[in-house]
Amino acid sequence: MSAKLLHKEKWSEFTGRLSGKNLWAPAVQGEVKKFVPVAEGETVSLEGGNTTVPPKALIFPQTETLYRFSRGEEEPEPPAIDEEMVLLGVRPCDARAMALVEKLFRWDFDDPYYLKRRELTTLIGLACNEPEINCFCPSVGGSPASTEGLDILMTDLGESYLLEVLTDKGKAIAGAVEDLLEEAPAEALKQKEKLAEEALAGIKWSVDPEGIPEALPQLWEDPLWERVSAPCLGCGICTYLCPTCYCFDIQDEVEGSAGRRCRSWDSCMFAEYTVHTSGHNPRPSRRERTRNRINHKYSYFVDKFGEIACVGCGRCSSLCPVNIDLIDILRQVKAAQ
């Protein structure tokens, strides 16, 4: 690992240079903050909190074509995935989430779409100096300055950014802008450590997940599920905007003699998600669906991959229109144990 310093007066040149590499960065559009492509000459600001839509949407698009087909053609045509992409300002929680989601897409089948896009993507992270209200990454194994999944971690030091170059992909980026960077002095690294400690101390919510994966199967019929799911609207906000949710549905869209097979995000909070062809639904109400969402993240994924499928970004709690709060649910799970 090497550590570089980028003075902020060189920021626009830095982003300008990277914009030639298919650069994406957070921008606010109306009420929504999300990653958008950065055209040459456009200003990039990393001010403010995390994006509403997590960067997973770029590697695992909400709708993507698996292949096109047409009558008379024997071979389906998969789309070419060959464009490199650089994401700037990815928060450590979202980068960790990508590392978790990758476990699924590498599990019993190597998903070529996800893995190819992931391989072509370089993640330049931004350490969180000011955690938001619902952040709780340390409770689930993260930290505001975690490097997991990132190629470069940037830290805002005020006058400059500290760039910790972590991987070969990161090196390639640093190499392309080498003349804008200088070696980071030891005090810059010290300052970063101090900021990381302060950020950690600034996180308000916590829950100790110890025992939760084991407790959840025991609480299958516990009244807590009815209680916490009663206000649920059954919408897809908590899952669609969760960086570790990866469920999708596959459908064919046909017009005339040609069409495409595509996959779109799906959500276990929808009634339709588990409806059988017979009409039977093994998760007939929001109670079972809410229970599944929590069990999937805090029990099933742990059984299968050894880690909790939650990075503590707080989006589900912040964005829920009826204040269903993950920390509140986890505390109720602990209390019901």
Partner: protein
């Protein structure tokens, strides 16, 4: 608002043998959040609140609750659901009754005259949220943010929700029990949001909605929060045939939103929940209010005022001049 009286009334209602539970509001887990609160026993009533943050319409829970098959040997639970309603919310109940979506004997309506609600997003912009659950009250015309001993007066005009600026029915149109004194309706503001869009020409309007609908992530929160979107077999969920593809793009998103808007014409009671819950900030209220305005002006009909009224979309007059038919 006399919270003691509210809680006492609620406790009495949920203690009745013929009431399953009561739905009201309680303080949320942080900031300006308020959560729907399902009160199942008298003790649960202690958490109830009615504050300027209780903007959500709870009437959707009357139809959102799943009708699960009753296990063999068990009797169906036919007890009533008690519901706290503001003026706008009560119109949803009245409209559900008019459409026979619910039966009168299934609900106990607790009416709460409403002095106007706060738009949480406007409030949070000016007075940032913290991890503490905030307390807000009405004071005269204005609102007051209470933090221990400290009180901050927030002028009404600064944070009043758009739907409340346009409100014509702050008092419940029907109720079994009312808590609080009726409020004096205020002069409803001109619907500048709708007027602004109607001032555009057709191309500009199309461009406007193209931008808006392109933002949609199809989370269905608007559909599920809407108290009048409750078809058991919804055209938007159909898989055979698929009327609206699951893929998320401008075309499918537009089909989704227009299907909903058409089905709500003459039925929408302007509670604004669709717009409030939208994570993408799509101004769905403007779309639905435009249709409501048209129905009001062209047909002299306003839904959700009379539970006995013939539903607008289900009515037919043999002497209708039908001037629009060529």
């Amino acid at each position: 608002m006399d919270l003691d009286k509210l809680r006492k009334t609620a406790a009495e209602i949920v203690s009745r043998d013929d009431v399953k539970y009561l739905i009201g509001w309680r303080r949320g887990t942080f900031g300006y959040r308020v959560s729907p609160h399902f009160v199942r026993d008298a003790a649960g009533a202690d958490e109830l609140i009615f504050s300027p943050l209780c903007i959500s319409n709870l009437a959707n829970y009357l139809t959102l609750v799943e009708k699960l098959p009753v296990p063999r040997g068990q009797e169906p639970d036919t007890r009533k659901v008690a519901l706290m309603v503001k003026g706008c919310d009560s119109r949803a109940v009245a409209q559900l009754l008019a459409e026979k979506g619910i039966k009168r004997e299934e609900v106990v309506v607790v009416g709460l005259p409403c002095p106007g609600m706060i738009d949480r997003k406007l409030l949070a912009e000016k007075y940032p949220e913290t991890e503490q659950a905030a307390e807000i009250r009405w004071r005269g015309e204005d609102f007051v943010l209470v933090d221990g001993e400290e009180e901050t007066v927030i002028p009404r005009a600064e944070v009043l929700a758009e739907k409340c600026r346009l409100c014509r029915h702050p008092n419940p149109v029907l109720s079994d029990v009312t808590v609080g004194e009726p409020v004096e309706p205020w002069a409803a503001a001109e619907d500048s949001g709708v007027a602004e869009i109607m001032a555009k020409n057709a191309e500009e309007r199309w461009a406007y909605w193209e931008e808006q609908f392109s933002k949609c992530i199809r989370c269905y929160s608007c559909k599920n929060a809407c108290p009048l979107c409750y078809c058991e077999d919804c055209i938007l969920d159909r898989l055979d045939p698929i009327w609206v593809n699951r893929s998320v793009n401008f075309s499918e998103n537009t089909a989704f939103h227009l299907a909903r808007a058409f089905h709500l014409a003459g039925r929408c009671i302007e509670c604004g929940e669709c717009e409030r819950v939208c994570p993408a900030g799509i101004p769905l209220g403007k779309l639905n209010r435009m249709l409501a305005q048209t129905v009001r002006e062209e047909y002299e009909f306003e839904p959700g005022l009379d539970p006995e009224a013939e539903p607008f979309q289900a009515s037919y007059k043999p002497d209708d001049p039908e001037e629009f038919i060529l």
